[in-house]
């Protein structure tokens, strides 16, 4: 036992196992119990009970009552539709771009692969707001959007709101994700496999059908599952595009129930979503494990002869650039425009104003809220966002490095597998549910941990745990590439563990490890649903302020803040990428 504890990796694994069980498994159990408990608010409805009694009331109400169709089944079906649709858009688009970039002689590859990642770096609702700026119609959303103003055509309701725009917007948001994963496989897939078929007189179509697609299929399937579970837990986009036509998905429904009515319902939905997430992960691991799966047969794949697009080369290249420009650049332009107009929907020159940026505040407009560049509340929010993201990134990234190190060192042992799974578990929890769980769990004093409700520390804690999977995956990947002998060479020379980590291991895989910091940073900078239930006026962050402004209908403020967030996130990730070579695709698992 003493010898066991002498090895740093064992200490790390043991403490991580302990902490992660407390921070992920215990909350799970808490909310499972909570769904069976009578609360103060249900005393009247559950006859003859007192607070704390066991009851099946919540489950019955959600799943088997006359109102369960409205409460659960309808949003559940909508969630399935939206998630499936998102997968098709994301994989179709991301896969196509990945194939074009890795396998053909398309032009502008550098620009395409940089810009195409943008929608994933940008907060997911960015595109949703841009969609509204463009296509909202006067029937539902008050002032009409730019499209109607320019062309005089009223957009149809189905086009402006509800499942169609949600699917398109989420699809565009996750397309880069699919692009990175599928592109990584295509880049690693030996081009000789296709050439061998070509020499044996197979047509281009047949090579695609019989060789390329079957080989990347496992990767596509696992991308499908990951996009599906991400889309399922997306909150902001359906909230922006669906609420006005009462199109509810599980997450928006959860927000309503957790925020008022009945937290029990919300927890049940959260549990069901986690269940689906675990199921998806299981299926994913099954797929990766089959004997037909893509095995790396050693060899060089440097000899890639790009498919010549011939006459289509320029048209396709230009079309793709224009499309990417529309998705990545145009939204920002609309935010800028929207934030400068006085009366929404009127795009005439005289209607432009700088009031919402630098105005002192006019009591007749938006309760006299000053412009965002001279508004102390906004600055407070920005400061909160930044220090929150930095703290989250620091904790998640550092713990991730240690976790990756210890997991790979003790690979194959039960403890290592357990910590690996525990560290990935938060990924499967829908952000909203995760926030809700922490809210209920840390609202009261627990052991030596004081009540954290309303504190900044609670935001940091929930963020760090939620984004640990990004950091630990990046670090596990980096450690796998590192031969054990590199560390052993240091050990034999009598170099201590701390020094080995700081001077040997971390410098070698610097860019991967920094990616492990970058992803949590970007993610918490743009996160809404995880924090929305936890913030109090003093801990407000930019994203939740944006949401509130939008709910109040002060879209100019919302657009201005959105522009700020996007520029900040994209800017900081580009700077980190340039300076250190770290990038978000490394964190996701691309190459």
């Amino acid at each position: 036992m003493k010898a066991f504890l002498k090895k740093p990796q064992n200490v790390i694994l043991l403490s991580l196992a302990f902490i992660l069980v407390y921070l992920t498994v215990v909350p799970m159990i808490t909310i499972i119990l909570d769904t069976f408990t009578v609360h103060q608010s249900e005393l009247m409805r559950v006859k003859g009970s007192k607070v704390g009694d066991l009851t099946l009331y919540h489950w019955g109400k959600v799943l088997f009552s006359s109102s369960s169709k409205k409460i659960f089944y309808e949003p559940f079906l909508n969630t399935l539709i939206v998630s499936l649709g998102t997968c098709f858009v994301a994989i179709g688009l991301g896969g196509l771009v990945a194939w074009l970039v890795t396998r053909t002689n398309i032009r502008f590859k550098g620009i395409i692969s940089t810009l195409f990642i943008f929608p994933y770096i940008m907060p997911s609702w960015t595109l949703a707001m841009a969609w509204l700026n463009f296509f909202k119609n006067s029937r539902v959303g008050g002032a009409p959007g730019i499209f109607t103003a320019l062309f005089g055509i009223e957009t149809a309701d189905w086009f402006a709101y509800g499942p169609f725009p949600i699917i398109v917007v989420l699809g565009l948001h996750y397309a880069p994700f699919a692009y990175i994963l599928i592109g990584g496989i295509l880049r690693n897939m030996d081009a000789n496999l296709e050439e061998a078929a070509l020499i044996l007189k197979a047509s281009r179509g047949k090579i695609m059908r019989k060789i390329t697609i079957p080989i990347v299929l496992p990767a596509i399937l696992s991308t499908f599952l990951l996009v599906f579970s991400s889309a399922m837990s997306a909150f902001a986009v359906p909230a922006f595009l669906g609420t006005s036509v009462r199109y509810q998905v599980l997450t928006t429904q959860m927000f309503r129930t957790l925020n008022g009515l009945n937290p029990g319902y919300g927890y049940i939905m959260a549990l069901l979503m986690i269940g689906i997430g675990i199921l998806i992960l299981g299926v994913n691991q099954k797929i990766i494990g089959t004997r037909k799966s893509f095995t790396t047969i050693t060899g060089k794949s440097s000899n890639i002869a790009y498919i010549n697009l011939r006459n289509f080369k320029i048209p396709i290249s230009v079309a793709l650039i224009v499309f990417i420009g529309m998705v990545c650049i145009l939204p920002l332009v609309t935010f800028a425009i929207e934030s400068f107009i006085m009366e929404p929907g009127n795009y005439s020159w005289s209607n432009f104003t700088t009031l919402f940026w630098v105005g002192e505040g006019n009591p007749q407009i938006a309760n006299g809220e000053p412009g965002i560049l001279r508004n102390p509340t906004i600055f407070n929010g920005l400061w909160n966002s930044i220090r929150l993201s930095i703290s989250v990134a620091f904790i998640a990234g550092s713990v991730g490095i240690l976790a990756g190190y210890a997991i790979v060192k003790k690979k194959g042992t039960r403890l290592s597998t357990m910590v690996n799974n525990l560290a990935f578990f938060p990924y499967l929890m829908p952000s909203m549910a995760f926030g809700a769980i922490y809210l209920s769990m840390f609202a009261i004093k627990r052991g030596f941990i004081p009540s954290l409700y309303g504190s900044f520390a609670l935001l940091v804690l929930v963020g760090a745990v939620k984004y640990l999977p990004f950091a630990s995956r990046a670090s596990v990947g980096a450690m796998h590439q590192l031969s054990n002998e590199i560390e052993e060479a240091g050990t034999i020379q009598g170099i201590g563990w701390t020094k080995r980590m700081l001077r040997i291991i971390i410098p070698i895989q610097k860019s991967s490890f920094i990616s492990g910091y970058l992803l949590p940073f970007i993610s918490s900078m743009r996160e809404l649903s995880l924090f929305i239930l936890l913030v109090t006026p003093s801990t407000r962050i930019l994203t939740t302020m944006l949401f509130q402004y939008n709910e109040k209908g002060w879209s100019q403020y919302a657009n201005a803040i959105n522009l700020l967030i996007v520029l900040f996130v994209v800017g900081s990730s580009l700077i980190v990428n340039r300076v250190t070579g770290a990038s978000i695709d490394k964190g996701i698992g691309g190459h």
């Binding site: 000789n192 080989i215 002869a305």
Partner: protein, 370 residues
Amino acid sequence: MPEIRLKNLTKRFGKTIAVDNLDLVIQEGEFVTLLGPSGCGKTTTLRMIAGLETPSEGEIYIDETCVFSSEEGIDISPDKRNVGFLFQNYALWPHMTVYKNISFGLENLKWDKKKIKIRVEELLNMLRIAEYGDRYPSELSGGQQQRVAIARTLATGPKILFMDEPLSNLDAKLRMEMRTELKRLHMETDSTFVYVTHDQLEAMTLSTKICLLDEGLLQQFAPPLDIYHNPSNHFVADFVGSPNINILEARGNNVNLDEIKLDSGSLEFLFAPTTSSVNIRSNQKLLLGIRPEDIEITDKGDIQGKVYSTLPSGMETIVKIDVNNIILTCVVFGGVDFEMGTNVKIAFKSENNVLFDRVSKLNIASGRLM
């Protein structure tokens, strides 16, 4: 009838030139090896002939048909060139069984099912992998994967077969075995083989002709023993042969009609050309190449040396001898060994010592040393 003809073939990758103005004629039924250090353009050349890479300039003819011409804008795609290609990493399709991998090419030729089955089984038996028909590539060893790859390439019976370092991923023992089989295969299939390798021993033992490339330039194209005994330049002499040829720097002067007096500082030789007589400038800077097996350790020798190190392998012993601070390598056949540090005498017994110019590196003459 020439089977493959390359004319002024050039390939540029950006600014670097991978293959530079290559002319080559490969006759039907030959086993030609493209040999050279890594990055010399041999794989690129092979891929250009097969149509997997587009040349920057030049022409390629297969069987008297022009398959590529930069001037006339001809570029026939690989599937229409009627060739077979064996990849270095085998490129077996991981999602297909061994049987499916082999039958794929036949299906593309629209053979009927029964004929395909007969042909695949014939190949499975021929390459001794009959029991693995239902396995997936990831379930086979390296050697077995190699055989499957060969079977897949042979299935459609191509008259021209390209192989890109097919043995480099095998262990030494298996490699020996496969060399023998490839040579048998060449004879049995009666096809033209074009083979890429960086292993000079493989090239020497397998080919009917070696095409030695360096930095995209053709160095020499000749049968293996010609290359060995009459290298066209210093690079060829140095690249072929193991252990390496001994190279001595010397200055030379014509003496006695057609002999050359060589002075390498501590050693002096008289070089008698056996090719044709040569004229050199006085005190011309030269390089003298002596093959290790051409140095004899004998009491009758007139050069004194000291044994520097020995590497006995049973069949032969590689002995390094220090002659006035010049280290010469020689090979003694049979299971003999020498004590390190003992004094020995050596003699030069062959007529195949080569003289190169030290500036142009070109072969000037072969001859005896006295």
